[in-house]
């Protein structure tokens, strides 16, 4: 009996990879296992080669493996591409006839396309057949697979459900009858976390739960999933989801809605974010709360539209011309994506600034089963003048100079005076000015004073093993999980990690105090420049020994990172 199983399903775009991935993930979750899945897909709707990889374990897992135990290729081409990704003991499941293969050799040959045809007369049922095969191989009850298929396909009608169940049954029994699956049988699962979510869904849910009532964006991979999640529940929560004509419109719409006192959000990827630069500056100048998600993909320009990278750190740090306070969060996990999105709304409103959530394709598209959200954490804290408070004000000044730098924010119609909001340099009343003294006061209000307060709001870095370590690995965003798991596997007390869920502003004391004992420091980043290393040097004076960098458009896997860490500490 084994404790972990890695499965890869691969085929052409359009073969239903997402559906089968969901069916399999859910089946194992229902059977009591922990799931981590991630996706690798091409920028096309039909053809090419995509895969969906699922890691199943009796314990919590957080990162992808390099190689898999079971490969289910849906085409001969997919078999050719992915065969080399099998573990030594691994097996590829092959339809000999369809793939035109003479000799089965090390493959497990099963006529799954025939079974699909028998079950429903359509190739698409190969997905349910595969689920049946996998259940038999891993020792999961057929009932569980069939229940999952019923749940997922119930909206498509009874016939489709029946065909899918039949398909799973055929695959299941044929496997039981013809293959000795002893080496893939999983130890019995216990109860595992209930909610199966991706990093884009948790940003969407985070926004909804933070009271976001206006979402505008221009579709762009890999951020579109956030808009889909919000749109799915727009009616239920009274949210307006407006697809903008371009990213410039999207960010300006969100600023317009937010200026009206309605919590609002926009998401995009690097190219779209670049177009939003002036809008981010507008939010800084007009002191309008703004929440922007940047789901990174490899650039420059169009780059790798469907793949992953962390090369927009410099871009978001420099986003918006001029000087103003802003905050950048870099969630490392599916859960952190939820809580930091909620926090982004609170901080944006409290300080009347733009807040950027920096995620990436890998985190957005990977899924895990997680525990119930703690809805008391980063709960909604609205911050504007209520109609009651506004009544006491006679002559309202939108940009009233205060010791904190933050002016009480009134909302149109909720105050018995008019409000002037201005992108030019302005007086306290919000009218255009060219006065040098006012300029100094306003710059200090928007930048120095707010930055000072934001320094106090800095989120503590997440550390592991830090007490006795002499080597510390530093990361931000989606590298967190794979790094932590790598160190757990390596299990060396001298090696530690520090993850920055907040990359701007940087509180240097809080970082330095944690790394002062280290003899060697390395950053681990999904980019070519070592952008985090440069940020740390600029902001804290800390110089790292080196960086482990990956920029092939793919995420670090547990195995590859363990190798790289081991090599790094040897040298």
């Amino acid at each position: 009996m084994i404790e972990e199983l890695n499965i890869r399903i691969t085929g052409e775009a359009g073969q239903g990879m997402n559906t089968i991935g969901a069916v399999i993930s859910k089946t194992f979750k229902e059977a009591g296992y922990y799931i981590f899945s991630h996706q690798d897909y091409m920028s096309r709707i039909r053809g090419g080669n995509n895969f969906y990889q699922i890691r199943v374990s009796t314990d919590a897992v957080h990162s992808p493996r390099e190689k898999v135990d079971i490969l289910i290729p849906l085409t001969a081409e997919a078999l050719k591409i992915h065969e080399k990704s099998l573990n030594e003991e691994g097996i590829a499941i092959v339809d000999k006839k369809r793939f035109k293969i003479e000799n089965c050799g090390d493959y497990f040959c099963i006529d799954f396309y025939n079974q699909a045809d028998e079950a429903g007369g359509d190739d698409i049922y190969v997905n349910a057949v595969s689920a049946g095969i996998l259940a038999a191989l891993a020792g999961i009850d057929l009932d569980i697979v069939q229940q999952v298929l019923s749940d997922i396909f119930s909206s498509k009608g009874e016939k489709i459900v029946r065909n899918n169940k039949k398909a799973a049954e055929l695959g299941f029994h044929k496997t039981k009858d013809t293959f000795d699956s002893a080496r893939f049988q999983l130890k019995k699962g216990k109860e595992s976390p209930r909610y199966l979510l991706t990093g884009k869904q948790t940003v969407g849910l985070g926004a909804i739960s933070a009271g976001c009532k206006f979402y505008s964006a221009y579709p762009m991979s890999p951020s579109t999933g956030v808009m889909e999640t919000v749109a799915q529940y727009a009616d239920k929560f009274g949210i307006i989801v407006e697809q903008a004509e371009d990213e410039i419109a999207a960010v300006n719409m969100v600023i317009g809605a937010s200026a009206c006192g309605v919590r609002s959000m926009v998401s995009t990827s690097g190219g779209g974010f670049a177009l939003m630069g002036e809008g981010i500056s507008l939010a800084g100048m007009t002191e309008t709360p703004l929440v922007v998600g940047n789901f990174q993909r490899p650039g420059p320009a169009t780059g790798f539209p469907t793949r992953t990278e962390q090369a927009d750190l410099n871009l978001v740090l420099g986003a918006g011309h001029g000087e103003f306070a802003k905050v950048i969060y870099a969630p490392g996990t599916i859960e952190e994506s939820f809580y930091l999105t909620r926090r982004a709304f609170n901080i944006a409103e409290k300080y009347q600034i733009p807040v950027i959530i920096l995620s990436d394709q890998f985190l957005a598209d990977s899924a895990r089963n997680i525990e119930k959200f703690d809805l008391d954490r980063d709960a909604i804290e609205r911050d504007f003048l209520s109609a009651e408070e506004a009544k006491k004000i006679k002559e309202y000044k939108r940009y009233k100079l205060t010791s904190s730098g933050v002016s009480p924010r009134a909302i149109f119609s909720l105050i018995n005076d008019v409000i002037y909001i201005d992108s030019d340099e302005h007086t306290e009343e919000g009218h255009i000015t060219e006065d040098g003294a006012i300029r100094i006061a306003m710059v200090e209000k928007r930048y120095q004073k707010k930055m000072k307060l934001l320094n106090e709001e800095f989120i503590d870095p997440v550390v592991y093993n830090i007490e006795d370590a002499d080597t510390i690995f530093l990361c931000f965003g989606s590298v967190f999980n794979v790094l932590k798991e790598s160190l757990e596997v390596i299990d060396n007390k001298k090696l530690a990690m520090l993850h920055l869920p907040q990359v701007w502003p940087i509180n240097q004391e809080k970082i330095k105090s944690k790394i002062k004992s280290a003899k060697k420091l390395y950053t681990i980043e999904n980019n070519a420049e070592g952008q985090l290393a440069k940020l740390l040097r600029r902001e804290t004076g800390v110089e790292v020994t080196g960086s482990i960098l990956k920029y092939d458009g793919r995420p670090f896997t547990l195995d590859s990172l363990i190798r790289q860490i081991t090599e790094t500490i040897k040298s």
Binding site: R194, Y195, L196, L197, Q201, L205, I208, S209, A210, G211, K213, F214, Y233, K236, F237, G238, I239, I240, E242, A244, E245, D246, I248, A249, N252, M253, V254, I255, G256, A257, A259, C260, G261, V262, R263, S264, E278, G279, L282, T286, K372, F373, L375, I380, R382, F412, S413, I415, D417, V418, I419, Y420, I421, D422, S423, D424, E429, G430, H431, I432
Partner: protein
Amino acid sequence: MQPEDFKSNDPIAWCPGCGNFGILTAMQKALSSLNKDPKDILLVSGIGQAAKLPHYIKVNCFNGLHGRALPVAAAAKMVNPELTVLVSTGDGDCYGEGGNHFLHNIRRNIDITVIVHNNQIYGLTKGQASPTTDQGYNTKIQREGVILNRFNSLALAIAAGCGFVARGFSRQTEDLAELIVKAVKHPGFSLVEVMQPCVSFNKVNTYDWYAERLYRVEEDNSFNPKDMQSALTRSFEWGEKIPLGLIYQSEDKTYQERIGKDKNPFLNQDNNAIEKIMEDFV
């Protein structure tokens, strides 16, 4: 309320004799006759001389980025449909930098009123060609004269489905105020383009130039602004005769009617308990 109640105390930064003064007078007159509290009116602008206008009026103001007044105004109306939302923009701001937003907000038929100060020149940047500058007009940049076609905003608006298309003249403030009131009352996107001489940089399209050419379309009894074909024909008139007044009007469902009239995010901000949907993710 009186037009004086809509005057702000911000000093005016336009050139003496600027066509914008007439628009300002007409706006104050129009807003005062709407019977609305200034706190429930929002005037949005981008950048340019036209974009300064909201500062001179006592209603709510959002003076944003060049070309981006429309997305701000549209979203404000979407989240708070109770606000009366107007945009003060220019030929460069609306048709040049913001051209894409002009097209797509007409498609949305969002219930806002867009007043375009059209002086056929870039004033604030000192006299370069705008999208509406006539061919052949010489500037420091277009030294051999403008070679691009003049942007026909009215024809384009009608073709894109704008349900209220009008042209005013900044010297005729009474008529202009009336047009603005009609535009605000029109349900859906309304466009009022105002011919407005730039006394500093446009030496051709002067007060007299316009006065000689502009004529009221309603003086022609056979003209029906509800007939799209005749409206389009008039919208192409330029040169010797330039039509003035309500050129085209039609009714269509507004954005708010299309998404469901009950949607009012502003009044509905406490509905956010996600517990009720979490079972969708098991």
